[in-house]
């Protein structure tokens, strides 16, 4: 409808819709401009809120004059490495555990209450206990990230497996499938979308937790950049860190979404 290049052949309602569509395309530009204007306004006053130019200049300075011998990219990489290791563990152990308690009612009865108790504690509350146990090296940080992102994937996998359509499994039984076949050929493929939802949420949870862990004590990473900025009242550095975090978080979300479309394309149609 919009593809028609002229409004000549349109009815009044179509012309109205065409115009509204144009408006909807223009409005986002206005809102982003408004945001930038607000930022400029906020920084022009007496407050010590940094202007975009200052933030940009600080970002450039981070490359020419690195903190702890690491520029912005290296700090991001340090954080990414931490969540990478944690997520590798999450996705192997977490999915296996989720499958176990989602598939076997006995295992669910045995581990369920303990797991729910573990899940009830916010991930960041583990930080003091873990630092008390393992100090402040690299391992405790990864452990914190694992604690913070494990629950979301286990819950999703478990939910996916215990809500597989009963008919699918019955078809398997009718065709004499062994329990292993029913699990690996029917239940797991049928719950792939739930598993992927778990992968997505665990990735974003891990990104948030690594940040908090780094803010509470680290020598490198984006969270460290922010807390360094806070300690030395270097607001442009804080904003640089926040923007970097936002961009990396968004990229991570896009990557996982893309992977989901690649591996289980049918989920897209259902939405």
């Amino acid at each position: 409808m919009i593809k028609k290049d002229k409004t000549v052949n349109m009815s009044a309602a179509e012309i109205h819709e065409y115009r509204m569509n144009m408006l909807y395309k223009v409005l986002p530009i206005f809102s982003v401009l408004l945001l930038i204007a607000l930022w400029l306004l906020a920084s022009s006053g007496v407050s010590d809120f940094p202007s975009p130019a200052e933030v940009w200049e600080r970002t450039v300075r981070l490359f020419t004059n690195p903190i702890k011998k690491l520029n912005l990219f290296s700090h991001v990489l340090v954080s990414l490495k931490r969540i990478g290791i944690a997520l590798a563990f999450d996705w192997t152990f977490g999915i296996a555990f989720g499958v176990l308690i989602g598939w076997s009612p006995r295992a669910k009865a045995f581990f369920g209450p303990l797991f729910n108790a573990f899940r009830a504690v916010p991930p960041l509350a583990w930080i003091p206990l873990i630092t008390l146990w393992f100090g402040i090296g690299e391992f405790p940080k990864i452990l914190i990230v694992i604690f913070g992102s494990l629950a979301s994937i286990v819950v999703n996998v478990q939910a996916g497996l215990s809500t597989v359509e009963k008919m699918y499994l019955d078809v398997g039984t009718v065709f004499n499938a062994s329990p292993a076949q029913r699990l690996f050929k029917i239940a797991i493929p049928a719950s792939l979308d739930a598993i992927f939802a778990g992968v997505r949420t665990s990735t974003s949870a891990a990104w948030m937790v690594v940040l908090a862990a780094e803010m509470l004590g680290a020598n490198a990473g984006v969270g460290f950049l922010i807390s360094r900025g806070m300690d030395s009242i270097d607001m442009p550095l804080v904003l640089t860190g926040m923007i970097a975090i936002g961009i990396v978080g968004a990229i991570l979300a896009i990557i996982t979404q893309f992977a989901e479309r690649l591996i289980c394309p049918w989920t897209r149609k259902r939405k």
Binding site: P128, L129, L211
Partner: protein, 278 residues
């Protein structure tokens, strides 16, 4: 086997199935209890036989004693337990309620009015990927470490799920229902109010549940980074005094309160959405 089932009367079949159900429930209860018991036994064993350094673990009884003691004794972190709990709850609820009051209606409006959506959405998408925790330094500069600052951070954490779920919920309003409204001459706003909002409430509540979880989790971070009271502050102080019992107590209290709040929200959902269940 199949022969015997064939011969059974209906009552017998019902009785058989009920018996099986009871047996499964019974088995599961036993398993749950043994799982929890096993956990506590391992914990106690580690603590009592000093397999793990006693500075790093503390046995259950000791924690329970501390729990009783903390009601009256403000040492070593400067406040009794109830004061910490109240200060945490105050912040969490303030931030959470603000998020619900602002986020849910905003989500509805964005989901219903396309113009509004295309204006607000880019702003939202820019702000959304920034984790709430990373707002902490800025809010400290703006508002110090008082109630306001913490509530603001909690608000950020709870706001996003409220908005997204209300948005998706109202987007899923059935076209048929909308068209019925139009046929009967209702204005767009009336349809929004009487059809869109009620049909999105299930999703909105799901968002509110996620939001309260987020709020509670972020609160702990906020209190660890910028506070002088509250449960997060308490466990951080426990950490710096090397008091593992205090840390574990704090974690248990935080977890228990989280469960309690979620249960309350579930009850509220039943009350508000009772009409949806037939």
């Amino acid at each position: 086997m199949s022969e015997t089932i064939q011969k059974m009367t209906n009552e017998e079949r019902v009785a058989l199935v009920q018996k099986q159900h009871r047996r499964i429930t019974y088995r599961n209860t036993i398993l749950s209890i043994s799982g929890i018991l096993l956990f506590f036994i391992i914990w106690e064993a580690l603590a009592i036989f000093e397999i793990v350094d006693p500075k790093k673990i503390s046995d259950v009884l000791q924690i329970f004693k501390l729990f009783i003691l903390k009601f009256t004794d403000p040492n070593p972190d400067g406040a009794v337990l109830l004061v910490h709990i109240w200060s945490s709850l105050e912040v969490a609820l303030l931030g959470f309620l603000l998020a619900v009051v602002i986020g849910v209606p905003l989500g509805w409006l964005m989901g219903w009015y396309r113009g509004f959506d295309s204006f607000v959405r880019p702003l939202f998408e820019i702000i959304r990927p920034i984790p709430p925790v990373s707002w902490i330094p800025l809010t400290i500069v703006w508002m110090g470490i008082g109630l306001q600052a913490k509530a603001f951070i909690v608000f950020f954490a709870a706001f996003v799920p409220c908005l997204i779920n209300s948005y998706t919920g109202i987007r899923q309003t059935k076209e048929v229902l909308k068209n019925v409204g139009k046929t009967f001459g209702a204005s767009n706003f009336t349809i929004f109010r009487k059809v869109g909002i009620p049909s999105s409430l299930t999703m909105s509540f799901a968002g509110i549940k996620v939001a309260i979880g987020n709020a509670w989790a972020t609160l702990v971070a906020a209190e660890m980074l910028a506070a002088s009271s509250g449960l997060g502050y308490m466990i951080l102080m426990g950490r710096s005094y090397g008091r593992v019992d205090l840390v574990i107590l704090g974690i248990v209290v935080i977890g228990a309160l989280g469960v309690l709040i979620t249960a309350l929200i579930n009850r509220l959902e039943k009350v508000v959405l009772g009409w949806k269940e037939l």
